[in-house]
Subunit: 355 residues, 2 copies
DNA sequence: CTGAAAGCGCTTACAG
DNA sequence: CTGAAAGCGCTTACAG
């Protein structure tokens, strides 16, 4: 009977408010948008009518259609929602994005990039998209967004046309970390990597797996470390967690001590903590017998003894800069990319190589 | 000159696709929505025209306006984005929500409830809202949503008209946990609480602070523990983190041993871990000298020795049930609330009271 | 300061 | 199976 959706009581419209107030729809609109001059008396009449009808303000969808803006920015994450937010780096990024938006009231629509996620991106009501933790098959996502003429800002992704890149010096920073270990005399070094494929396969990283990998950040960090230690064995994990660090560390450390590396480069701090836990379990002294290097610079809240040697990345800045790039794109300025720099923080988990 | 927004190249429309394909707009629409019968030949013509024009499919905003649905559900969080997601319970909840939506492709718009957040809620393009970690001043948020005739599902909030409540047995579960301590002979018990006010003030919880508090879940858990230990001192924290647990624990434990409680009830597992850390720092044996009880049942990944005694809550179920309630509301079924139950898991951090 | 008109891009009965 | 028409609820030039 009623033309509205059955789930909702009939919602009052601006037209009904205007008619009750005895003004035109355009005038009523002006009252709510504040974009034009309206006399106090008129404004009061309109507001009174709105209150009487329990009108909640202009319908956001209609306003969006008319204005050509949704006021929403998509945040495209690699995995399922919760996994993406379990990574402290992504949380810092979110903080930064919030900061970067400042007073612009933009909503954040989280879009997990599932297998068939192109479809999700094709129909999400967004003005711009920020791609996070991007690795696998990002190109198709970008194509879908480009067809919709939606500006894209990608964080730590490979270079792509028409995409504003917010980069981290992953390769260079990793190289500097590895040099720190080399300067301490380390020669037998192993690497614990972040996921290198969409399947998050664990295990030794063969040249073949390397070639087929699309995990840009992981590859960059690995390449940097191998600039210093070309033959370093690398073991991949299923994610940046303490557990995963422990799993990988066991395969590297639970071996005859002659075969053990004297240093482990972990591609994240959480992985490094896992390595430290296993070293403790196995009675391997850090840093006397084993040096451990992390990446990220997260707060560890006393999860380890001492201070982790790590590459501190400006995670919040990354988000802030991404948000600013989005704002620039929406304002019609073609954003330029930014490369942010990580700093080596020498803690107590690295020291002179044994012997 | 061009009527479109300056930031975007002119986007092709369905009308242009239809005209190029030589069909009506309605027919072209049918091709993309799949909601009506279209001959293969016609479909092919339309698709070819779309490809030629690089048409990305129907505009989501226009579709939303017409259909009266945005396909987006708001997730209203208490704090800033990142804080909300730092809590492992909220992450589990997100997992559950994703599960509960199943094949319904609903986007999640995160809406941090700031001071002026009513305005945010008033204009967010959403079909329904899920209120998380709700405490302060939730009533105004609900009013704003009700005026918009948007169904609201609230998790662990006080009862409100027109809101589907997904509840946890906070009070009862806390009482059961306290009884476990009482049965072990504990009489001097202290409580470390979650935030009890919007300002996240730390310190002893006076009757006055209690009265002015609006943190529903916190109050429920406190009331449950005090059913067993009416005079237990309570110290509030600024959030569910290990750090905060440590801060509170220091005020309770770093005192002459005669004045020390023999058991601490922490309102979250992270707080409990903080308590355990401080006990270790101070050389207080757990459980010989101090029993520690948590709440939540999160995975602790070896962050503590032994197994935390805690109340395991079905966090994922909470999300799943909330999502199902949203689906029911959108389908026109008025959802009933659900109360979920937590189970006491006795670990190794509680034991007989000393003496 | 106010109003009449056009139109944002689509979907959905309805008729054929 | 296809098309013409109405309309979702608003905002924005434009004219007065």
């Amino acid at each position: 009977m009623a033309p509205s959706a059955p789930t909702r009581a009939a919602r009052p419209t601006l037209a009904r408010v205007a008619s009750r107030a005895g003004v035109s729809v355009s005038t009523a609109s002006l009252v709510f948008s504040g974009r034009g001059p309206v006399s106090d008396a008129t404004r009061a009449k309109v507001l009174a009518a709105a209150a009487a009808l329990d009108y909640a303000g202009p319908d956001p969808t209609a306003r969006s259609l008319r204005r050509g803006r949704t006021g929403v920015v998509g945040v495209v994450t690699e995995d399922r929602l919760a996994d993406a937010f379990r990574d402290p780096m992504n949380l810092a990024l979110l903080d930064g994005i919030g900061e970067g938006f400042g007073d612009e009231r933009l909503g954040l629509l989280v879009i997990p990039r599932a297998v068939d996620s192109a479809s999700e991106l094709e129909s999400a009501p967004i003005d711009a998209a920020i791609l996070l933790g991007c690795s696998t098959d990002i190109v198709r996502s970008v194509e879908a967004l480009h067809r919709r003429r939606i500006p894209v800002v990608a964080i730590e992704a490979e270079r792509m046309d028409g995409v504003v890149a917010i980069d981290l010096d992953n390769r260079d920073a990793s190289r500097r970390g590895a040099e720190h270990l080399r300067d301490l005399g380390h020669r037998r070094v192993a690497i614990v990597t972040l996921p290198i494929d969409a399947g998050h396969t664990r295990g030794e990283v063969s040249p073949e797996r390397l070639r087929s990998s699309t995990a840009f950040g992981t590859l960059e960090r690995l390449a940097g470390a191998r600039q210093v230690f070309p033959d370093a064995i690398a073991v991949s994990t299923a994610g940046s967690t303490i557990d995963e660090g422990m799993r990988a560390a066991r395969t590297l450390l639970d071996v005859p001590s002659g075969a053990r590396p004297t240093a482990i480069v972990a591609q994240s701090d959480l992985l490094a903590v896992g390595v430290l836990r296993v070293a403790e379990e196995l009675g391997i002294a850090v840093p006397a017998e084993l040096s451990v290097l992390g990446f990220d610079g997260i707060r560890l809240e006393g999860a380890i003894e001492g201070v982790l040697t790590t590459l501190v990345q400006p995670a919040i800045d990354k988000g802030r800069v991404a948000a600013e790039a989005v704002l620039a794109e929406l304002a019609g300025d073609s954003g330029r990319g930014v490369e942010l720099r990580s700093e080596l923080r020498v803690g107590t988990t690295t020291g002179l190589a044994p012997h």
